[in-house]
Amino acid sequence: MAMIASDIEALIRDAFPDAKIAIEDLAGDGDHWSASVESAAFAGRSRVQQHQMVYAALKGRVGGELHALALQTSAPK
């Protein structure tokens, strides 16, 4: 069962309550998503760490149920 944008956003929101989140269905198939997440929690973390934090928020779905998620993370400027 493919995920929907609001599920992805809710999981990210749980972990990063302050985040600005934009989710896009890249292929219109509910299977290839892009997410951009801006949160103060990312300040001082490397890109790898920032993405690991988002993957953790998505609780093992990335690479499985969530087949493809192009991710862009940043801390507020």
Binding site: V48, H51, Q52, V62, A70
Partner: protein, 109 residues
């Protein structure tokens, strides 16, 4: 949790300054994300070695565990995990990949 692929991974990322774990190989990538990283490395004329996770289920699981990273491709430079497709693309576009290669003294075009 034990990771039977770990000795192999450690040996490969130690022996090969630029090591890419991917689906397929550099000539025939079998996934668009892997293909993109190959294209970037080729474009930068970086010599690199690849391992095909589709040929080895233990490696496919093991590499995810090793880097605590859920997806393939995964790029390693001098033994250090750099990132997956999104991060490599961002770093290429911003010039950081060039800087990293220079810092790690990886010859490239």
């Amino acid at each position: 949790m034990s990771n039977p692929a770990e000795p192999r991974i450690v040996a490969e990322i130690t022996e090969n300054p630029v090591m890419l774990y991917m689906k397929g190989n550099a000539l025939m990538p079998q996934c668009g994300f892997s293909a993109r990283v190959v294209a970037i490395l080729n474009h930068m004329k970086v010599p690199f070695k690849t391992a095909n996770v589709l040929e080895d289920p233990l490696l496919r699981e093991g590499i995810k565990q090793y880097a605590n990273w859920p997806t393939v491709p995964q790029l390693y430079v001098k033994g250090e995990f750099v990132g997956g497709c999104d991060i490599v693309t961002e770093m290429y576009q911003s010039g950081e990949l060039e800087t990293l290669l220079a810092e790690k003294e990886i010859a490239h075009g």
